[in-house]
């Protein structure tokens, strides 16, 4: 027999908004790129915990849009996002229209990685996957 199979890495990204953070527009987005996609499962939900205020929320495989009526909305909590990526690719995360201290955490084979997230910067989730 010959041949091999590849498994697409999966795991949950956690974006944490510290006290004092804000959404700075009526729309704030979180976009996944690099051949990554959000993956809804019954064992790993998309989760808003803490105070992630929204009047409207739209979710697709590549984007989460959080909408509010005010252009400044305090946010203090965590968004957990299950993600899968095609094998051999590095997923990216880009978050827009926020201020304050925000971190992104993702699983790697060597443990959880945590980095500071800046608005509109495309962030590479190197070595993604547990």
């Amino acid at each position: 027999m010959s041949g091999s199979s590849t498994t697409n890495p999966t795991g949950s990204i956690i974006i944490t908004y510290a006290p004092g953070a804000q959404f700075t527009s009526t729309n704030s987005t979180i976009v996944v790129g690099g051949n990554g996609a959000f993956l809804l499962q019954n064992s790993a939900p998309l989760l808003f915990a803490g105070t992630i205020t929204f009047a409207q929320l739209s979710i697709s495989t590549v984007q989460i849009m959080i909408s509010n009526t005010s252009s400044t909305t305090p946010v203090n909590g965590a968004i957990t996002i299950p993600v899968t990526v095609k094998s051999g690719n590095v997923p990216t995360i880009t978050a827009t229209n926020f201020s304050g201290a925000v971190e992104v955490q993702w699983p790697t084979p060597n443990g959880q990685q945590t980095q500071t997230l800046s608005p509109s910067d495309t962030f590479y989730l190197n070595n993604f996957g547990s």
Partner: protein, 124 residues
């Protein structure tokens, strides 16, 4: 097979700290352009979106006015259904659910705790 299903909340009150929408015979199946969309008159702060369930954390007795649209997927032969839990109003009709059929959109009252089969649902 896939279609958009919309629940319109009509002034029901939460009877628990979590309002649930549960799916059977189908799952939320996001695409690049649609997946799940929530719009509420009063802002929310906590939500969990599973493949087969949406849980909205809320204050007890909070009013629900707005909508939840889900792009669902199912396989031929399955019979999608939806159940709304932990919300009520005096007329026992705190929400309606709308889904596409061959004869146009179908709208039915969604009574709390009662699974509603989306009869005749077709891909949209």
């Amino acid at each position: 097979m896939s279609a958009n299903v919309t629940i319109n909340f009509a002034s029901g009150s939460a009877t628990s700290s979590t309002v649930e929408v549960m799916l059977s015979g189908c799952t939320i199946s996001p695409s690049a352009v649609a997946g799940a969309s929530v719009s509420m008159a009063s802002a929310l702060t906590n939500i969990s979106v599973f493949a087969g369930q949406v849980m909205i954390a809320t204050a007890y007795n909070a009013q629900f006015n707005g909508s939840l649209t889900m792009a669902i997927g199912w396989t031929s032969g399955q019979q999608p259904s939806v159940t709304l839990n932990n919300i009520s109003n005096p007329s026992n009709s705190p929400a309606t659910v709308m889904w596409p059929t061959a004869n146009g959109p179908q709208i039915q009252i969604l009574s709390p705790g009662n699974p509603l089969t989306l009869n005749g649902i077709v891909s949209s």
